[in-house]
Subunit: 352 residues, 4 copies
């Protein structure tokens, strides 16, 4: 950490900063610059120190040098994390595709979507039983009944299931049905919820918040990792910017950046990131070309009947076409599409 | 709601859209424009209809006309909501100031801050017992012990107390100590938590999320209102933009805009919005000049010892100076500083 | 255009709006909605009408329906524009790569970079003779001497040359040396300059402004097209968002969106969009997977000696590696790398 | 400047960085941290050095310590700059109000607006003769005829005139009519134009770009100052953010921040920053409460006939009301409204 003094800081102020640093148990190291003095702080500093030193007299700014995340960092753990979900490996060098409806609506629609995902070569079934909705008057999901429907679809197809959990009181319930717990973008900094899924025995897919920096995203992962749950999958789903022509802006830069900073697998969600089904394929392929370990895609047999997000859902036919293009692209990239899931169903793992 | 057809939409596609609208129970109304056709949808439409119609063949875009919030809207309720908290009225035409430390640290510091807030003419004591923190390694608050300390400070000074609640399981506990429940910016769309505070019998201060639009903010208020809790206070605390010279960008436009759109009181938080104590006074006065009903300000007797956000905390001396300037400004604006809180303590209202 | 009236608008106000519309020469069409009235405006409306009608009494908002760009629109011209630059075709279905140093520094470096671009299979040489610089104290380019150096490199390698023009007074000069005129991001709405390059007889590469919406970008292209210059190439180079971990955020969504909205070719600039050489390859490949017609890449023989933007420049070796990966990717996408440029130099076309 | 090495940087890489720093003529200073090494660079560093050192092997990041603007900096010149325009002083402790139509349309309208500005107590007449317009099909101003109209209005009222210049070839012409040259937001980084107005003998009002950081804004001022023109007035006019409920977001934080960083006067433009006349007064008063030295306000006798930006223009009646409120507020703030301009016209100063 570097404390930058003002150009007109007095000698007494500089000495006071140095004394303060030593009193907190760190080593100080003063550098006389051309324009101003700076004082380096040596030792295992913590982020809050920026504030504590920043208020001292004569200080201009305090600059942090070390990265605040540890367990999520590739500097600490250089080896790629591979998350295993039943027969599927995420982050192991092949491309994994999750597909399914935004909301779990009728059992028929979910089963039809699940069969379509399986038939096309997708690996994991997605679907929301608990839905975060901007308006209190919108459909908020079928809750536990939705979880039952997802489990039935898994029973038939063998596809592992991912679904969102929003309430810390529901983590145990959702974990008893789902194979992957999803933390939605709005809850990326719901620290109470992160603590709970950190204690769960299921992999967690952590969506990036729409205004979260890459650093904050990795710190949210750190919350989960710090409770001992090492099976964290990151998911870029678009950030909020000034551009309104698309629903969000898919931050494709973040994909290779996070792969450099962290050992965790990263997947892309082009459905939410664009909000338009006609952009899902090009942006999905772009995410993979940038290095993503997989995609999560909204698929609905009848997009115009979907209870949410129909505009961004692919039909089964378009989903199959996308998977075909992923297969070709994956081969060119040297990261082939993961093998199809076998028919034997994944055991339904209820806790307790 | 207006369905805008593509310029090359076929007659069959337009008729199909009209049929679809009627099947959903709405009236359709077609307009032949110079370049393209549009179809108006008449009736009590819901926001999701944008998606449902947007996926039909030949549709270019769907434009929403009506506002999605109702109970929060001034069109529905033209009269200013006044929230009463013990002896203090928020939104009633005079300026209310909340002050206190970011985190509840030691009992001594909180008591000293509370006395300073009271002595200067502040009305409500703020302080965090449960703290949302970006890093899992940072101080996360003293929890219930912090609530005790706040209650003790109220006992001595008579100042009502506001504190944040983060966990839906803690709402009852926090409501048993606090006079106002605060929903932090990161939880503005934690709908589970909004539901719980909507059912609580205490006023709620709802901070705007750092990337929430004004519409989403009012929809979050709608969640609370829809459960029957009408005592909602809005708080602008800065949005995230490209500018990094300040911690956030205080959206001063939002103050008069929200006063026009909604009947709910609005206060400003210049401490978090700027991140720098030297900007707190000018931005706080700006919020008031723009029409805010009050301010919430971080005050700490020793900012360099604060366990969080010291850089943006005012000393008691600077807080008193700010209150003096608010008094002068309020008189000029015709919205005087609210009268001081009397010494008789507010009864500690424990539920049950 | 749709005029949305307030819920409490009076009959007289609505009639006044209708009268106003007719007086301006448009047709009016009133719709009685459940909550409020709206009035459609029929005819060849212009964007400013939003303002003119928005100030009338009783009006809530005015919503624009038609797109403000015409010549740039695929609705008007459905066929892909192909821009021919000497032997190179941009937008014709194969991938074109432009490479070279950010600034033209020494003749040796530029020649070395040009040879490397050629040898690797790149098609066009880029290099800045006039450089926009944030600080007045930074190196601002060699001016006409830089143009001479670029022409010499073309003479030797046969690669057509692209370079930026910043001053409307320099358009003729730059056009006498360059094969493509580049408009930088900061000048995307320098309308005086757009007018001048619209009158020039050279293709124009139009970079998207860092805070320009897709609509504004296409309107800037419309300026150039409206002067009769149809050879416009669009270039996405990253937008400014809250994220600071990369220099800008590459808006990959914009690539397929613009291809849908417009017939103009679009290329990507991953060097400026990321600011880090280690992200150039993954983001460049992503742009192509999303549908870009080509890339523009900074290449410098000695990045640590570059007079600007060294941190984002590829070495010749890494550039060659990138081209190899583009070749593989392009084949998989069905859009192969364009054939190499032959040795015969493009004639130096001086005006006059 | 601080070079932060990677945690796994080798000794040879660190020594190479130190050698590189010395070869460039700076002093190096190595610090052994707990996690990693950092190397301080001592001497008169330049911003580009960040790039030059950032590409060396083993370097993680390079952190700039000193501020890149000098002449604009309060550290260099602690005394407030006061810009004198005829009888008006900007930045001298009293509040100055500029008012007038967005575009110069008819002579009658401009004269009527000018009389209204004068009568209400405004100090300077604004009006656009050259208008930057997003679309090439919109009204772009009357050009020199507009300048004549402004000069006629000054002749009658005595109000100095401010008007925008967009083309470097027009600077001399515009300076021959105007008392203040305005650089619009879109041209804040049109460095060619900044150079030209830096050489002009007239004060310059420099609007902040809609996506310009405070640092970039002050660097743009530095361009003008570096040519010897010390009469620069800064103008905050709103930045582009994700919020679309208002046209831009007025960055009120920037007002006191810039007053701390720089000695230049700062005014606010609530008309463009909000895009809605009903928000102009509250946001304008907020700007003043935050410390602005004045305001620039759109005033039009008939907003519904304005050729641009009618929706954000005040009527003369509302402008007079605003001035009344500014007078009251200014007295409370200790920064009174500047005295009215006397009737004797300012001499028309034609160059040459």
């Amino acid at each position: 950490m570097i404390v930058v003094m003002k150009t007109d800081a007095t000698e007494a102020q500089i000495l006071d900063v140095q004394k303060h640093i030593r009193e907190l148990g760190f080593k100080d190291h003063r550098i006389h610059g051309e324009e101003r003095n700076v004082v380096a702080v040596l030792g295992h500093v913590y982020p809050e120190l920026v504030d504590e030193l920043g208020v001292l007299e004569g200080v201009d700014t305090v600059v942090r040098i070390s990265k605040p995340f540890k367990l999520a960092s590739r500097e600490v753990n250089p080896y790629d994390t591979v998350v295993r979900v039943g027969p599927v490996e995420i982050g192991g060098g092949s491309i994994v595709v999750m597909g399914g409806p935004c909301s779990v609506d009728s059992e028929d629609n979910v089963l039809e979507a699940a069969r379509a995902v399986k038939a096309a070569g997708g690996h994991i079934l997605r679907g929301g039983a608990f839905k975060p909705r901007t308006s209190p008057y919108a459909f908020r999901g079928h809750g536990e009944r939705g979880l039952h429907i997802l489990a039935a679809a898994r029973q038939e197809t063998g596809l592992p299931v991912i679904t969102e959990v929003m309430d810390p009181r529901d983590v145990e319930l959702v974990a008893s049905y789902a194979d992957i717990l999803q933390i939605g973008a709005r809850n990326m900094q719901n620290f109470v919820l992160l603590d709970e899924v950190g204690k769960a025995k299921k992999p967690v897919l952590l969506k990036r918040g729409i205004s979260a920096s890459v650093e904050e995203w990795l710190l949210a992962a750190e919350y989960i990792l710090s409770h001992g749950n090492r099976d964290v999958i990151l998911c870029e789903r678009g950030i909020r910017t000034f551009e309104t022509a698309t629903r969000f802006t898919f931050d494709v830069n973040a994909i290779p950046l996070v792969k450099q900073l962290s050992h965790l697998p990263v997947i892309g969600d082009p459905s939410h990131a664009t909000g338009k089904w006609s952009l899902v394929q090009p942006v999905g392929l772009a995410a993979l070309a940038a290095g993503a370990d997989g995609l999560i895609i909204e698929v609905h047999p009848n997009p115009d009947q979907a209870l949410s997000d129909g505009a961004q859902s692919l039909t089964p036919k378009n989903f199959a076409k996308l998977i075909g293009n992923i297969r070709t692209l994956g081969n060119a990239l040297g990261r082939p599409l993961a093998p199809p899931v076998e028919d034997e169903p994944v055991a339904v793992r209820r806790i307790g």
